[in-house]
Symmetry: C2
Subunit: 814 residues, 2 copies
Amino acid sequence: MATNVEKTTENDMEMSTSAFGKARATVNTNPLDDEEVRKINDYFHATLYLCLGMIYLRENPLLREPLKTEHIKRRLLGHWGSDAGQSFTYIHMNRLIKKYDLDVLFVSGPGHGAPAVLSNSYLEGVYSEVYPNKSEDVDGMRRFFKQFSFPGGIGSHATPETPGSIHEGGELGYSISHAFGTVFDHPDLIALTMVGDGESETGPLATSWHSTKFLNPITDGAVLPVLHLNGYKINNPTVLSRISHKELEALFVGYGWTPFFVEGSDLPTMHQAMASTLERCITDIREAQKKARDSGKAFRPRWPMIVLRTPKGWTGPRKLGDHMLEGFWRSHQVPITDVLGNQSSLQNLEEWMKNYNPEKLFDESGALIEELKELAPKGKRRMSANPVANGGALRHKLHLPDWRDYTIEVKKGGNQLFGSMEQFAKYLRDVVAKNLDQFRVFGPDETQSNKLSAIYEAGKKVWMGDYLEEDEDGGNLAYNGRVMEILSEHTCEGWLEGYVLSGRHGLLNSYEPFIHIIDSMVNQHCKWLEKCLEVEWRVKVASLNILLTSTVWRQDHNGFTHQDPGFLDVICNKSPEVTRIYLPPDANCLLSVMDHCFRSENYVNVIVADKQEHLQFLDKDQAIAHCTKGVGIWPFASSDQGGEPDIVMASCGDVVTQEALAATALLREHLPDLKIRFVNVVDLFKLIPDSDHPHGMSDREFKALFTDDKPCIFNFHSYPWLIHRLTYRRKGQHNLHVRGYKEKGNIDTPLELAIRNGADRFSLAIDAIDHIPHLGNTGSAAREELLNRRIAAKNHSYHEGLDPEELTNWVWTY
Amino acid sequence: MATNVEKTTENDMEMSTSAFGKARATVNTNPLDDEEVRKINDYFHATLYLCLGMIYLRENPLLREPLKTEHIKRRLLGHWGSDAGQSFTYIHMNRLIKKYDLDVLFVSGPGHGAPAVLSNSYLEGVYSEVYPNKSEDVDGMRRFFKQFSFPGGIGSHATPETPGSIHEGGELGYSISHAFGTVFDHPDLIALTMVGDGESETGPLATSWHSTKFLNPITDGAVLPVLHLNGYKINNPTVLSRISHKELEALFVGYGWTPFFVEGSDLPTMHQAMASTLERCITDIREAQKKARDSGKAFRPRWPMIVLRTPKGWTGPRKLGDHMLEGFWRSHQVPITDVLGNQSSLQNLEEWMKNYNPEKLFDESGALIEELKELAPKGKRRMSANPVANGGALRHKLHLPDWRDYTIEVKKGGNQLFGSMEQFAKYLRDVVAKNLDQFRVFGPDETQSNKLSAIYEAGKKVWMGDYLEEDEDGGNLAYNGRVMEILSEHTCEGWLEGYVLSGRHGLLNSYEPFIHIIDSMVNQHCKWLEKCLEVEWRVKVASLNILLTSTVWRQDHNGFTHQDPGFLDVICNKSPEVTRIYLPPDANCLLSVMDHCFRSENYVNVIVADKQEHLQFLDKDQAIAHCTKGVGIWPFASSDQGGEPDIVMASCGDVVTQEALAATALLREHLPDLKIRFVNVVDLFKLIPDSDHPHGMSDREFKALFTDDKPCIFNFHSYPWLIHRLTYRRKGQHNLHVRGYKEKGNIDTPLELAIRNGADRFSLAIDAIDHIPHLGNTGSAAREELLNRRIAAKNHSYHEGLDPEELTNWVWTY
């Protein structure tokens, strides 16, 4: 064991596992007998051997020949630093899974140590089951090695190709929130979560420790975090590894956990320490759950967690030449970098790998010896075979009420005000009620502000913090809720991702401007989904639904900081295979769209709709027809009688549709003979050519709506140039005059803000007049009058702090 | 005092400041005499009166007439919830500023309580100095009230119009990192930072508490956080207010602070508690600083902080009708919402406001009475007049070495490989060395990975955590460094923003894909800068420079998660007044661009350049000429002899320029008669029309480069559609065929990744052939051969894990 590895070579390579010395641990009851220690250590060595093999070898996988340059990959890539600590934890959990028949998912926060996960999956046989040509023999092992970080192969994170992974760890910071997402409503599941100490410095991770305040020990499972105090990031020490024990302990007590420490590098004592500590944690988890479940009284236990301090690159050489390796940041990626050009380094590598004694660990055929195979759990109990990590296979369809039962009556489009979001909330309430075990709503303290509070009738807000008397006064808090609210978009999104990836359904609602906070997370989720499409065994999961409200056009008290509709641009950069964007103009369309989104699979659906009262346009049947097409002419708002129009007035978004319709009314008032065609877009990707997105229209369809030679004034909810980015290949694109938010704003009234950005009714009507040829004096007179009306309206805003009433509550007549 | 306010009215409004009862505090030495308590409390009441005035009144500011509906604003907006706690803290710091002659900046984390800051600024006279028509009299007060949350006025956050503010608080989570940014290299400054307990749930805030590990008590000032345990967010309790005292205390001990508690609502005892506690904190700060400065030995003190637990909406009515108000989330915004329609509510408001006794606080003219005026500090010691908050006025120019001295010799473009970033690092090292008191480099653990480690020669990495022996082995850590590295893009960006806004200079370097993590922060900084342009007294600050490297095209080991060049799209949505984007193609251009950025003011400069070795194209003089224009024809790479080309080959970005140039070489090899014009873009906004951005080209200039009738193959670093979004109004836009990253990737070799996205030399040459008319058989033959070469190159990648050597190290000949 350890002593085998400890020696100094003539090549200046000092092998050592004693950098941190004998184990120090909160609990250390020596539960393993010598034979168990030996086997566990052998298994550990087998995984480490495989890790190095993945990083280095393309041939000669079991080093049965002397190692030569031609056995080495020509470009060396991969991460070694956290492999040992992760594998160590994985293997010790295997013991407990077998002992207690546990259902455990492994979440690898430092996904950059994928070799640890991959090697364990390979040793427990899952990898070969999933990828038969990576068989458990010499040839399979060779292929298994070569594919790693090799073109056409797999990456060095826990990518979608990795069995058992729902968390890639490419972008750091989301392991804890992902893990919590998987265990909500999975009462028997334990998510064993390796948290990197580098990752721990990120904001999203730092706040996600508070997730325990939202986990119910009766109906949810448990997260067991193992903070891997590996000591180093790429080139720097980590903050948490360089503070006092007292501070470190206090921090996690403060976060609400009970930290157990396992620290050291000496293998035999570390195995005992980890075995006893991990077992203590599992026991504590099960006791807390039992207490809550037996009594039926939920409470917030101080859940156990482990702080595992081992040297970075553990079990590797302590020094290479003059430089520190094990226990230093130099072991982060490829630990010996010059094996291709330096014979002595190649020998070092060979010696190091042979120190793990592959010849004793693998049999003649190249398979792990039977004695060690027995250490892994069987079947679905193997962590890399946990079905939760292929959540699509576990997923049930949502039980959806008929959305048409929630539609509002619209006798005449444009003459009644109504809150679309409040109406949708009733439907959403019943979605919650019908899916109490598989649907949750997430939001950063904005659900009520976003007018969705009707859902609390079906499921309150989960709250495991303290309760006060005044919570009775509309607090809507409960141990057993369905709504998850923490003022962290990161945590909400992380929970939702974990929840969806493990086979359930959900919705995130957010103020539109601050969804940018999770641009990067949503990017990564899109990438995950897209890659999953290439992985045959991955079953599609529910779509991730993001409802954006409190939109840019209604920020009269929050002002400029709250005006940013640019999330759509971020989404438009992601793969068309997984992205959908909807801007329903009114309540009935919102209902139709949401129903569609809840039924869809494997997308990121972004839905934009304001929460204030707005004019309603389409009745149920019209909404069905319109949303099914995604874009269409509104005949009741058009005056071209189906013929060629003088101008097309188009809109996409609720507030801007109201203004565009008002503009057509103004035009008809002033220029009654004008032939106007009104087009509304619900499904944004309709605008793009069909070659670029599955929802895209053909040029012919596009022309049938927008013409290719008539001017079109297009009022858009977001930044106007996004429409040009979607339509630049259309023949008539030069005739598109798009208005939208142009980053001009303040604490303006709604009309004033629209005027600033040229997206108000008056400006649109004037725009139309300016672009229609041959209007002559009639046109000039109308233009003049509209200009005056715009000035008057704006003046009113300035003096009263309000838009003129006839505009705010404006009823559109046609 | 308190007892004045406590009574129940007949209108079901229960006035109370006893929700939390008498003060409980870690330190409570009763330092104030009764007279001091009375005055401080009167001053406090004066600010609260003003807060309510701002939210409600447009006339009758001192309630000298009975309050009527017409005195009330017609739309009620603003935030009351955190006003009292913030103002309370502000006023108590005033006492200490006077006593110890302190230099203190007030950072309002819950910027949504701007009335607290505004009222204090008004009472200390700064507001009237800055805005003379908001004078210290009845009329000035009326205008001061009316402008708040009123069109043409100011918002309800600590917006740029707010004297003394560098932190708006519109988007939450950045108060601590901003505060640290202001005190770095400002040894005498104390940033008194109100941290909202809502804000505390955000990821960025949660990790920013660790900033103490990067603050040197000798050369930096101090941050004194006051965590305002206000209890509620918009509609929810806050996590930190609902955990045990033990956990709360442990959390901050764990973060490395010494928390002092001040809890309660009874005014007299709260004043004593806050006065003593705040004084203790100031004393502790000064002692720690003295110890470090006298000894010359830096260390990390457990800096003091305050946990201030007061009721939300403190001093307001405890109940309104059946609902809780003070001490509940209902007091978050406008506390009594129906004063316009409900006479009894209007009376409640009047009574509440009169409880503060305005007639005793303000004299006949409407000014604060002299006795109270004396409580505020004088001149620049007034927190709202702290010059640091108008950092541009303090700013010194950077001492820049002559960048031309760092250029590399390029005898012939395209035949030598060189690391642009390593070369730039030498220049950056000397920028650091020449500006040791006013320039810092920030990065999330990637500075060395990004090949910038030469800068450690001039300034090491600041590290106040523990040190270990191995740090000597290239750790580059120091108490007294100039490089700030924490694995939190949020914290790095927050520090840099604070540093720049307080008058200094800096650079953030980051992996390109993960800059999306701070999309929202950069958005907000752009918005701040843009609004500052409208505020007359704000002096321009240094630009915020973001250097993106480890770019999309070189992610062969990190793969798909690390491929996202879309930050440019986010920037392009922000105001052209404050945004600049540069993509220098080689080392000399990078140097030229960076020199320009370091000299610029008030921009967000985004510079994209890869860190690997690349071909070099331009010598010093060519680089000067090219970067000055921002876009230009490269004659040495063109074969049109200044005449009309058959095709334009264009590029923007380093890797893609290499491929585009290689494509022209391939075309010349196969089709020697072809007239090719090569255009390179350094300054991305050159492409947009001059009406839309100050850097934009006129149509004439655009045509002179790109023609308006010849095909142009444009190879772009980022998502290709961004070029279309910038050029959709150009006449020749239909001839632009843009290639770039189309979200297709994996752990591909560089060439393979380019091929996947159609941005490689072969595909570009084929594209050109496909778009040039009349090439006939010669064209077809060339096309065929290029296709074969592409297949061969790709096959080589697959088998060897490398691009063919002649491509990787390809030397371009012309």
